[in-house]
Symmetry: C2
Subunit: 592 residues, 2 copies
């Protein structure tokens, strides 16, 4: 069975050496002293390793069951969910007015990675509740907030997001679910939604569904979509639960992974719904929480890669096969551990350097979200909007690839379910798909975010890179190994953006055909920037006499690996982009 | 449910326009007239689409069952296997002396792709039998051949390969299975083997296991390994079946995919075994069939990519989401089919150009095998030995990636099992692992094949590329789109080989740390060569007034796509290789 250990030291390095959170003047960051965050992360790590990781493989094996209209989660999930609730983990970064602990999002994200890494399917129950909480918090009336949020913060009630219908996923304007206005100001919701994660289960007393639907007589298409709060059981004014609300589960899906999280067909039959936000502004209400939700999915992709990596390392140190070609390393054993073999190391270094760089990118982005929400920083808002599709698309595409590489370390033992490596791959796979498939992320990046506010935000990103390089170019310890590759990556990224500007006007397909490559090119540049910064931080720690020199030296080596072995991908992505859309679009549909 | 259509036209193009099989003087190739191969492929296609593809998803869903020591295959497998036997498909390229049809391996491989694409788990039963047939055919005594081969050619008896033990997969020298010599010249085999595909099932009357074991008193390690024929039931001298032979199934594995093929723990308890080939030369006996087996696995990876691609195309033409940014394409519908979107096309073109180029590479390699076996061509033997790890490693790594991309076209619908896209991914995954994990292929390529016979074979490969470029450089229709990118790829490949030569002597890790990248670099160069040749063939067909101009024009566009969008990966792989092993090997094992 796979194990999980929270990467506390690596997270601490990012929070403190890299981001210097406790010295930031963002409201609430002063609390984030190293001792405090370490205590939180270690406590989360205990719950992760001791409570929720142990039910990860069994939950995958058993899956959810659907009987008599009700979904039952796998063995141990109810008890583990109680532990999460009792520990206050469900409301860590929520509003204290509703029982939350008001921790910054950056810490919530770090903790979220730990729980997701231990058990993605399990952690989704609270993750989706958090998403619904955020939507109600941002758009609800005071009465709605008072009624729903306290029990959602505590996860006594859980939440869901209902967007997709069988004929429309990305193109939500096609949806058919209807909302009929009632005389009391409520609506009757009727329709069928699919792919509803955590749509029903036995972990909470009530489920608060957020449902997109069209109010009769409203505008056509996406402009006529509104968002509704539809509880499974009506909530009385005194907070007690009333009658069932005509919400039922049609079926649950057989899926490739996340078996322990019920993916439901939800049927709404004249269910009472309460408008959340404005009429016909449902998409806007969804979008305000989209950055956060997408960063959360990027976090999941990274978390699976970390978990898979940990187990690949354990196996590579333990499994004895063959001998080190440069000299026997385990003379008393029948063979050397496979970690001596260069291609196994190449594989592990790919994973390690991605995971650590990706985590820095994730937490930097999360800190920008704090800057937006806690300091009203508009520039940070623009920057994080630009980077969100990259966090989501790049971290999940590469995160998935890394779970596959981790599985490969096990050879045949990785293909059988016994070691749990297959589950990491199967669970990670969904992160590339939900919350906007990665092709949609790439489209959002290139078709929308790049040109937003006159291209101001991408220019701001380039400025950050340029400034960092300039400020450090006299630093011989950074120049060749870090600054030069970063400069090249940034140059490739700029050339790609320039290509889009020069050619996208004449034919938008010239830009869109390169969108996926651009997302990856951007991602590598971001991780290159993170590694250059981390190298600087590691050098600084070494220079000031940090006791744990091995840790910082390892950071430097891992960073050098990323720069030398991951960053050359930017040239390939640029070449693909610059080949334009001619060969991409040339064929008639019939020729495929 | 997914569908499957044999790509007969694409295969015909490769066999005839590209390889010109019927004009070759290889023994038996004169029979391969276009009409004949078309008839064979179409007939295979009918069986594939009508008989074995329909039990692919259901076989995955149901899996094999293990009860009372016996394995039962999923519903419909027995009947379908009868169809394969009755059609003579199991002995297509086998020796006519034992009931085979003596077709060249190139045609057997083309047909194999069709069956594998329709149902990999099912086709493995005969594939493994073919592998065991080949080993007995190459190394058996006349008596052994007469006794076992006729019923294996007809698949009345099936075969298996028993190499792995739980503590040793790649490093077979560690094996513990023992062979005790008996006075009658036979051996008693005792031990436990794992991961035995098709180890037991209900499709045949007897199973002929080929088992690696150590004869007591023999040399230590890999040099003391011998190969044995161990039938499930003893075969009497009159060919009838005798007593059970102490061969039992310990358990069957829960796996990520190929659920319909039983992966068995096989237990041999004083089982009667007959030495195949020489004592202590078991590995040599295995290796003579290794090229063929590995090319067969490369074929499987490609086949899954083709099958997944076909279904992605159907979905992309059918699924309506969003509008073409350059103008509405389906004005009467609520949205345009997603194939209009550039990133969906980018995805499909990645798949299409890989699959068609990969198939050419596969069939070229298969034709080289014919040249070895039917014309005793030593140069072809060297070349195909060199390319075999590339066929296996590159076609399965990329084949898997392409199944993931095909699944992505379906969005959320790809993640649920209903559409079958998850199965393509899960089934393709094993091809990267079995028959030598791809890291072992890369090691074989760089550590062994590259320098074999003084590097003669890789030089021969470069010479083929160089000659082709030289012979065609006056051809304006090829130069910019095909020859230039091929030249660059070949240059990158040569630079990588040169790097290994210059640095690998001082430290073999400098070469081995780049082995995986070299395998991919080599693969891209091979597919680039194939596409350049196919472009030439397509131009020739167009010039001579072929009626189906759309087909040949599509080939040219698809080839241009490969050259423009896949080949730039060679620069990335070269950069990774040239970064050497320093960052790869720097960390102590404890630092991971």
């Amino acid at each position: 069975m796979p194990s999980y250990t929270a990467p506390v030291k690596d997270i601490q390095f990012i929070l403190h050496d890299l981001l210097g959170v406790s010295t930031s003047d963002i409201q609430g960051y002063d609390e984030l002293e190293a001792d405090f965050t370490a205590a939180v992360l270690e406590e989360a790590g205990k719950v992760a390793s001791g409570v929720i990781a142990p039910i990860n493989a069994s939950g995958d094996q058993e899956g959810c069951t659907f009987e008599n209209g009700l979904v039952t989660t796998p063995k141990g999930f109810k008890q583990a969910f109680e532990v999460m609730k009792e520990g206050g983990w469900t409301g860590l970064d929520c509003d204290p007015e509703y029982g939350g602990q008001n921790m910054p999002y950056v810490l919530g994200t770090a903790v979220g990675e730990i729980f997701s890494g231990a058990n993605q399917a399990f952690t989704m129950y609270q993750g989706l509740t958090h998403g619904a909480y955020s939507a109600i918090h941002a758009h609800g009336t005071d009465a709605q907030k008072a009624k729903f949020l306290p029990k959602m913060v505590s996860c006594e009630w859980t939440g869901t997001m209902n967007l997709t219908e069988s004929h429309c996923g990305t193109d939500l304007g096609l949806m058919r679910t209807k909302a009929d206005p009632q005389s009391d100001g409520s609506y009757k919701i009727t329709g069928e939604k699919i792919f509803i994660s955590a749509g029903d289960h036995d972990l909470s007393d009530n489920t608060i569904h957020l449902v997109l639907a069209k109010i009769a007589g409203g505008p056509e298409g996406i402009k006529g979509v509104s968002l509704f709060i539809v509880p499974k059981y009506i909530v009385n004014d005194d907070g007690t639960l009333g009658a069932a609300n005509g919400v039922s589960v049609g079926s649950i899906e057989e899926k490739m992974g996340i078996h322990a999280n019920a993916t439901c067909v939800m049927v709404y039959n004249d269910s009472v719904g309460y408008l959340l936000g404005e009429e016909h502004k449902g998409m806007r209400a969804m979008f305000t929480m989209m950055n956060e939700a997408r960063i959360g999915v990027g976090m999941q992709g990274l978390a699976q890669a970390e978990a898979a990596y940990q187990n690949a390392v354990i196996y590579a140190k333990d499994r004895l096969q063959g001998r080190d070609v440069t000299g026997v390393k385990n003379p008393d054993g029948p063979a050397d551990p496979i970690i001596v073999h260069p291609d196994v190391r190449r594989n592990l270094m790919d994973q390690k350097s991605f995971v650590e760089g990706g985590r820095a990118f994730l937490l930097w982005s999360a800190s920008l979200i704090d800057q937006v929400h806690r300091a009203g920083d508009k520039d940070a808002d623009g920057l994080v909007s630009l980077m969100t599709p990259v966090v989501k698309g790049f971290l999940t595409d590469k995160g998935f690839d890394m779970t596959v590489q981790a599985q490969q370390v096990f050879g045949g033992h990785g293909y059988i379910e016994e070691h749990g490596m297959s589950q990491f791959v199967r669970d990670a796979r969904i992160t590339q798909i939900y919350e906007g498939a990665n092709g949609v992320q790439a489209l959002d990046l290139v078709g929308r975010k790049l040109a937003l506010d006159g291209g101001k935000h991408v220019m701001a990103f380039f400025e950050i890179v340029k400034t960092f390089i300039k400020e450090n170019e006299a630093d011989g310890a950074l120049k060749a190994d870090f600054l030069e590759p970063l400069k090249q990556a940034s140059k490739d990224l700029q050339a790609a953006a320039m290509y889009f500007m020069q050619n996208g006007m004449a034919n938008p397909n010239h830009a869109l055909a390169g969108s996926n490559d651009f997302m990856h090119l951007f991602g590598h540049t971001c991780l290159g920037l993170m590694w250059a910064r981390m190298a600087k931080a590691a050098n600084a720690a070494l220079a000031t006499g940090a006791s744990d020199t091995a840790f910082y030296e390892t950071k430097l080596t891992t960073g050098r690996y990323y720069m030398a072995r991951h960053l050359p991908a930017t040239g390939m992505h640029l070449a693909r982009i610059q080949s334009g859309s001619d060969t991409v679009m040339a064929l008639d549909a019939e020729a495929f």
